[in-house]
């Protein structure tokens, strides 16, 4: 087994260990065992940084890949299939390494931060346990080499998110939110599951590489539509997890959880898992599927941005901005800007985590006041928070010299390129929405910064009842001190400050690329090249069908070789093959020096890549303009007050309400799906109690009435005969027993009657 594999297994299991220790023993440990969590996570981060270092930095190889797996379930020799085993395994490539480092780092920082933020909570120890199991599941998603295990961990992060959102389960809002989150994710998951089923039913394997291999070899013998469906269905998992339209509704409510959780799960890592997953399966997405993904992403980005501009809760603004940014990433994948999307995933993870932790610091300092309308002027009190928060904001808004600028710009460039390559028309909606959302982003972040940090403190403006409500909501949190005036708003302690600083530092361009204007020159996008599709594209099939397919196969084979024969013994020759692959890739890179993306055999991908490269400059310009526009708009409204926001709001009240009420999605779902299923269930259970039972028991009610009429009817008789003739039997019984009159002469008469009747019957039989 490769040493990195061993390390990665340790990385995977350590957080689980933390969970086990803390869930059982937190009460017995000093400080509720928070140091266990923090320490273990520190170690985990160290290990995964080692992996990152040796994979990404040392062997500087875009196609680096090592895999290992073991037989999890052995079906034996299955008729019609042959020997069938379900394998579980680990794959490490650049993407994995980067994700590992990012997840563990943020998780570690959040653990550290929580020691301050959650101090004094009655379930303090359990909180760290939950963080532990979350980290475990998240790392599982990152490391999995097959769809089945990714689905398992997918649901497990759902569980930990459920537990953490409902951490204050005494609050009904929290309880609702956690249920909502889990169900919304389930809806996405069944789509994902069906997608997995489609692929499995074809290839009897869950392993990515084997699936891709089979696809490339054209072994998929269902119709093209099924493949597209598979892509879209798998993407549904991402829709749920990454809160894409139309399943985005759960994420803002998820802010009911403690703020560190929001930072870790609902901003940086778990919600990004959806994007990560789509990236994993990127190569099997057909063109149609990609179009769907692109549009969904664009819509999400735009919608969330429009909602964010009117929210007052500091965390909700960030939540919607998260949704919007995730929309960007999905958009990026949809338009084929694979590297850019993942780049944005990582950069966004850092600065958004920073923002959430910052907001957490603010909320902490404000004694759990979350409404921005009652904040203001905090920059004097909390300089560190102010600085880091602002830096992260700039990154989010996408100003140059920040990481966010490079990644977002790369995505938008890809979008333009895509639109050009697809031949314009409707496809220009995507880049348009992208740029417009960029402006909105700049606007609402500017608004937030101003409301929170500048101006004067507005705490005293808060209505009492609202104020009280604010406290009541967090009553269970152990802070029962009522403040009419915010006294002693002060900077947070080091253990909450350090994470902010680190994360802010990671939002600077230099970390990723020497050229502040072009991420493509950076190590990241070099290490995460856009892979070659294995399903080809419409045009590709049209022009040179079989030849391209073969070429695909060959090319992918080159990629996939290291994945073949995942066993410990053959690791040595893994490196061998890998090195050959490196040479091939280098020759590609040499092919065009400025090294944007590898050469694509698939014409569509090639075209998009080319167009995107050309659109790069244009994108920079437009986006910068948009950002400046947005920020200046924010300044105009909130700083120089040329326009009174309230009056504007009143002026465009419908629009304002539309945005303020989040496009009424919750109400719509409430009215349709939720109410719907409740009603159906009521109807069905009535049906069950009355109709089914009734029929099976032989029209229970009716029989009972008849029986009552005939006197002393026994209700069991209804169910007694347990078949459709129960009714008949009992009434007939009631009738027949009347024959027994008790008069012996009647008996004789009946006897003779019977004899005669049968005789006549026989007689007629005889003569006819």
């Amino acid at each position: 087994m490769h040493s990195l594999i061993q390390i990665s297994i340790a990385v995977l299991l350590l957080p689980l260990l933390s969970f086990v220790i803390l869930i059982f023993f937190n009460k017995r440990l000093p400080r509720r065992g928070d140091f266990v969590g923090v320490g273990i996570l520190g170690a985990t981060f160290a290990l995964s940084f080692y992996i990152f270092w040796s994979v990404v930095v040392q062997s500087y190889d875009p196609s680096f890949r090592i895999a290992w797996d073991f037989t999890w379930i052995d079906f034996g020799n299955v008729p019609g299939v042959g020997p069938l085993q379900i394998k579980m395994g680990i794959v490490i490539d650049n993407l994995t390494a980067i994700m590992l480092a990012m997840v563990t780092l943020i998780s570690f920082l959040v653990h550290l931060y929580s020691t301050g933020y959650m101090a004094g909570d009655p379930r303090y120890g359990r909180f760290f346990a939950y963080l532990g199991i979350f980290t475990f599941s998240m790392l599982g998603i990152v490391l999995s080499d097959n769809l089945f295990s990714i689905y398992i961990f997918w649901e497990l992060v759902g569980l930990s998110s459920y537990l953490l959102i409902g951490f204050y389960f005494e609050k009904d809002t929290a309880a609702d939110a956690q249920k909502k989150a889990f169900l919304a994710n389930r809806v996405g998951d069944i789509g994902m599951w069906l997608g997995i089923l489609i692929l499995y039913s074809q290839f009897h394997t869950f392993n990515y590489q084997e699936i891709f291999q089979n696809l490339a070899d054209g072994k998929f013998d269902m119709s093209e539509a099924w493949l597209t469906a598979a892509g879209i269905l798998l993407f549904m998992g991402c829709v749920g997890k990454s809160a894409q339209f139309p399943l985005h509704v759960w994420l803002p409510d998820a802010m009911e959880g403690p703020t560190p959780v929001s930072a870790l799960i609902h901003a940086a890592t778990m919600v990004a898992a959806g994007v990560y997953f789509v990236a994993r399966i990127f190569v099997l997405l057909t063109v149609d599927a990609l179009h769907v993904i692109a549009f969904i992403g664009a819509i999400t980005a735009f919608m969330a941005a429009t909602i964010a501009i009117t929210q007052n809760d500091i965390k909700r603004v960030l939540a919607y901005s998260t949704v919007s940014q995730l929309g960007y990433m999905v958009l990026g994948l949809g338009v084929g800007a694979y590297s850019a999307a993942l780049f944005h995933l990582v950069t966004h993870a850092f600065f958004k985590a920073c923002l959430f932790l910052g907001s957490g610091a603010i909320i902490h300092a404000m004694h759990h006041e979350q409404d921005m309308r009652w904040m203001g002027g905090l920059r004097k009190h909390m300089p560190w928070t102010f600085a880091t928060f602002t830096l992260a904001t700039l990154a989010l808004a996408g100003l140059p010299l920040t990481s966010g600028f490079m990644s977002k710009d790369a995505i938008l460039a890809g979008a333009i390129g895509f639109a050009n390559a697809e031949g314009g028309g409707i496809y220009y909606i995507i880049p348009f929405l992208g740029f417009f959302s960029a402006m909105l982003t700049a606007f609402y972040m500017g608004r937030q910064i101003w409301l929170v940090f500048f101006g004067e403190s507005r705490t005293h403006l808060k209505p009492a009842d609202d104020h009280h409500h604010g406290h009541d909501a967090h009553g269970s949190h152990g802070h029962d001190d009522h403040h009419e005036e915010v006294h002693g708003v002060h900077e947070v302690a080091w253990n909450m400050r350090a994470p902010l600083v680190i994360l802010a530092a990671l939002s600077i361009f230099a970390v990723y690329s020497p050229d502040p204007l072009d991420g493509a020159k950076g190590w990241f996008m070099k290490m995460i090249p856009t892979p070659e599709t294995v399903v080809g594209s419409a045009s590709g099939k049209a022009e040179h069908g079989t030849s391209s397919a073969n070429h695909n196969a060959a090319h992918l084979l080159a990629e996939a070789v290291p994945a073949v024969g995942h066993s410990a013994e053959t690791d040595a020759h893994h490196e061998g093959v890998a090195s050959e692959v490196i040479h091939e890739e280098d020759s590609h890179a040499a092919g065009h020096g400025d090294g944007h993306g590898p050469e694509f055999s698939d014409p569509r991908q090639a075209a998009i890549a080319h167009e995107a490269h050309d659109a790069h400059k244009l994108a920079i310009v437009i986006s910068s303009v948009m950002v400046v526009l947005g920020i200046s708009l924010a300044l105009i409204v909130y700083v120089f007050r040329f326009v009174d926001p309230d009056r504007t709001a009143r002026a465009i009240r419908p629009l304002y309400l539309f945005s303020f009420n989040k496009w009424y999605w919750d109400e719509i779902y409430q009215a349709t799906f939720i109410k719907g299923s409740i009603v159906i269930s009521k109807v069905l259970s009535w049906f069950d109690a009355n109709v089914v039972d009734g029929i099976v028991n032989g029209a229970g009610a009716l029989t009972r009435r008849v029986g009552f009429a005939t006197g002393g009817f026994d209700k069991y008789v209804v169910d007694g005969a347990v078949n459709f003739t129960a009714f008949f039997f009992n009434t007939s019984g009631a009738v027949l027993k009347k024959l027994q009159t008790g008069k012996v002469q009647t008996y004789v008469v009946l006897l003779m009657l019977a004899v005669i009747v049968y005789f006549i019957y026989y007689f007629t039989q005889l003569i006819y």
Partner: protein
């Protein structure tokens, strides 16, 4: 016109009689026992019930010693074809003697009987007489003998039914039984006379030979068969000849009810099988040259009606004796299924079923008697909560009822299994009969379970002392019956083999 027989003929007649007597020992012994009991009764002059009972029981038990050697005797006709000795007859000899013993046993258990009856000696004597009559029913091969034996059974039954003179229900039952019974036997006689007219023979073997030889008018034959069936049918208590049974079963002393429900029913089946299998043409050997009389259809109709009617009407009964009466109508239907199969397997199944029915039905009535001793009532509602107060009786009754439903592991289940096997062995022709059989047994489950339902699931209305006053002897006897019911449900090979061995009927040509 008839000249008297010559001396030589008389010699031969006497010789035949002498030889025949050797084959007639058990019947003779029973007759002796009958008189012995009367004598003893006169001797003890009073109420030594247990003595009389034990005399009767032991005497009956002694009969085995006379029956058993008969296996070694050659099967064949005796008394000029009046009477026959074959395995079939022997089976029923055992059967009726056992049932007689059980009848005596349950009679001893019945407190009401021993309280209200002065001359209990005659009671037991009559039971013996009934045993004798039933044995002769099973063995007689001549119309005259059949008539005489059936009358013997009938008359004793009338008397026993009305034995509780102070009890209006008992006398009413007796009257109804008598009227209905004598009318039926009148019909039967008329049928006999018609057959005699057609064949000038009264021996059933000769009759069948005669019919095979000269053929017959099917219409007249059917009329005769119908009338005769009326006579047999009222003994087996199958619809539509059953009307007497519910009233009689309810009114008669419970031991007699038990005895009638098993004994005279079985005797009816015995005579019915012998008569119809042997005497009436049915299209098979040796009647292939003439059209068989379609009396199977007749039996099928009767069987189906009996199963459905008996079970459906039983759903409504509140009196346990009456409920069991209706259930016995249904069981007559099940037994008829075995006869309808009309082959060796069918006969075997029928005989086995009768054996099982003997065990479980007498057992059930046994418990009914014990409970009546305690509560003085046979109403379903008075059974509430008895399961706890009389644990053994409750358990036993449950077992017997389960067996009557036909659930494993009881003898009743094996009986049903054999019956349905016999039907399905004929291929798919009788599947629908089997279906009706199983479905009606589901209905049966409901009303049978009403009794345990009351005994266990409901609490008695008036709480009385929980002590079970049942004498130990009855406890033991009951336990034995219960255990046998289960034992033969699990290891039934001896009984089934016995039944198979006994399915051989003299002069039978259908299998």
């Amino acid at each position: 016109m008839f000249q008297l027989p010559s001396g030589a003929e008389i010699e031969s007649i006497i010789a035949t009689l002498k030889s025949s007597v050797g084959f007639f020992v058990p019947e003779i012994w029973l007759s002796v026992l009958f008189m012995l009991l009367i004598v003893v009764d006169l001797a003890v002059k009073g109420r030594k019930n247990n003595l009389l009972a034990s005399v009767a029981a032991l005497g009956l038990a002694a009969t085995f010693f006379f029956i058993y050697p008969q296996h070694s005797l050659a099967t064949g006709e005796i008394f000029f074809g009046m009477y026959v000795l074959d395995e079939f007859a022997l089976f029923f000899k055992y059967f009726f003697v056992i049932s007689g013993i059980l009848a005596v046993l349950v009679s001893v258990a019945d407190e009401q009987l021993n309280r209200d009856v002065q001359s209990i000696g005659e009671y037991y004597a009559l039971i013996i007489a009934m045993v004798l009559g039933m044995i002769m029913m099973a063995s007689s091969t001549d119309l005259l003998m059949m008539f005489l034996s059936m009358e013997l059974v009938g008359l004793t039954a009338y008397v026993l039914t009305g034995y509780l003179k102070k009890d209006a229900r008992s006398s009413e039952a007796a009257l109804k039984y008598l009227v209905y019974g004598s009318v039926s036997s009148g019909l039967m006689l008329y049928g006999f006379s018609l057959i005699y007219g057609m064949t000038a023979e009264t021996n059933i073997m000769k009759i069948s030979a005669e019919l095979a030889l000269h053929g017959y008018d099917p219409l007249l034959m059917m009329l005769a068969s119908l009338l005769i069936l009326a006579g047999f049918g009222y003994k087996i208590g199958a619809v539509p000849f059953h009307f007497w049974s519910p009233d009689v079963y309810e009114g008669a002393p419970t031991p007699i009810t038990a005895y009638l429900s098993v004994g005279s029913k079985a005797a009816g089946f015995a005579i019915l099988m012998r008569f119809f299998f042997v005497a009436i043409p049915h299209g098979g050997e040796p009647f292939q040259d003439i059209a068989g009389l379609d009396w199977l259809m007749l039996l099928i109709v009767i069987a189906v009606i009996s199963m459905v009617y008996g079970n459906v009407v039983a759903l409504w009964q509140k009196n346990v004796k009456r409920l069991l009466a209706y259930s016995s109508i249904a069981h007559a239907g099940y037994v008829l299924l075995g006869i309808i199969a009309m082959d060796e397997l069918g006969t075997q199944a029928t005989l086995f079923y009768l054996l099982g029915y003997l065990l479980m039905n007498i057992g059930a009535f046994y418990v009914v008697i014990l409970i009546a001793n305690r509560t003085g009532s046979e109403n379903l509602d008075d059974y509430r909560g008895l399961g706890r107060k009389m644990p053994l009786a409750g358990a036993a009754l449950t077992v017997f009822l389960i067996s009557l439903v036909g659930l494993p592991p009881t003898i009743g289940f094996i009986g049903k299994l054999m019956i349905f096997s016999a039907l399905l062995a004929k291929g798919s022709v009788y599947i629908w009969l089997a279906l009706i059989g199983v479905l009606t047994s589901v209905i049966a489950l409901y009303y049978y379970m009403l009794i345990p339902l009351n005994m266990y699931l409901r609490d008695s209305k008036q709480p009385d002392e929980d002590r079970d006053r049942t004498p130990i002897v009855h406890q033991v006897a009951l336990a034995v019956l219960m255990i046998l019911t289960i034992y033969f449900g699990l290891f039934f090979a001896p009984l089934t083999d016995f039944a198979k061995a006994s399915s051989a009927m003299f002069g039978l040509s259908i299998y």
